[in-house]
Subunit: 216 residues, 2 copies
């Protein structure tokens, strides 16, 4: 298909498509003349992923490019490519604090992961963005005087493990390794607002039942 | 305590505290002379909440002020004050699309909430930021060709309901109505990165088990 049709079918303006092409987020089309190129279903699919990463995942363009590069790196095995892609996803910025509260938070997180049977030690913990975000968030809660110890974290951890099984099942429904990596990236990012908005709706529902006498 | 001690105990610089005072995020201290004021434990606690909302919750200053105003509005009942506060929390920006995919997403969300027994109809659904985020996110997934129908949403919804019960239990541990509202706001925001980072760690663990032969 031509650029105009790619724009129409993807809902992305031709100016934005050209920008993605220049930035290396979208692979070039098959050139048919000095001024025209043909695009296929692969372009359409990539364009939808790029748009979702940037619009829904609120990911900077440079990060989206890293994610896409990682998903295409043939030198990595499947688990590593999945990991490289999802590690590049944006996280809340770290606080960088290293006080006693922070050390206590790290100890609570270690105890939690140990209890869950997850293997995060040494470099794997040190450099994992999600691990750092978790420790920072637990420290922030404790600094505010809100409880966030093993007892409070365990239900969250157990539910996260249940979600991961369902999510990886969905990833494995994709027939090709590339498709699985693309799905892992997209589902990681795109299910985050689903999960958070459902939790907020559930809060409101539970609050109405407890404080405003709503019956289920 | 004086401003310097408030700064030391909260870890917030005096310049930032003065900015929060000017912006109305922090209640004024008790003036003891033309140039000095006394601050108490309430200031310390408020300061930690403001810092958490802005740093951890990545909330704009104007929104943090709305949240704090809502928690102080005596004309609202407890459920409404909780709701007003948490409704002001930032969400992913809406896509504003209203095409067939979006309508299908809305239908899927309605079916989900109906199955869960949550009451979101009419204005309650129309104006709830979390509801709009949920519909937008489901539409984005479907546009990309990733499955997000009732079957995929139900486990997320059931787990969200379980978390809400645990979260509201924590909120109700706070002895005063004001403390409960403050806790609801803080826990809503501060547990979001906990939940998302645990989900990402769980993904990596589950991926290692499936694709790299890691044993639990």
């Amino acid at each position: 298909m031509r650029l105009a049709e790619l724009s129409e079918r993807s809902g992305v303006s031709t100016a934005t498509i050209k920008y993605y092409l220049r930035e290396g987020l979208l692979q070039p089309g098959h050139r048919t003349s000095a001024t025209q190129a043909e695009y296929g279903e692969a372009h359409l699919r990539r364009l939808r992923l790029v748009r979702a990463l940037i619009q829904i995942g609120r990911m900077p363009v440079a990060t989206a490019r890293e994610v896409i590069t990682a998903t295409e790196d043939e030198s990595l095995d499947h688990h590593m490519r999945l990991g490289a892609a999802t590690w590049a996803l944006p996280e809340a910025p770290g606080t960088g604090d290293e006080d006693a509260t922070h050390q206590a938070a790290r100890a609570a997180v270690e105890a939690l992961l140990d209890r869950l049977g997850w293997r995060y030690e040494g470099a794997l913990a040190e450099y994992s963005p999600a691990y750092r975000t978790l420790v920072d968030s637990v420290a922030a809660l404790n600094r505010l005087g809100y409880p966030c110890d093993l007892e409070h974290l365990l239900p969250y951890g157990r539910l996260a493990a249940e979600l991961a099984v369902a999510d990886l099942d969905t990833v494995q429904e994709q027939p090709t390794p590339d498709g699985q990596i693309e799905a892992a990236v997209a589902l990681t990012v795109l299910y985050e607002p689903v999960l958070l908005s459902l939790r907020r709706l559930a809060h409101a529902e539970e609050s109405a039942r407890r404080f405003a006498g709503r019956t289920p």
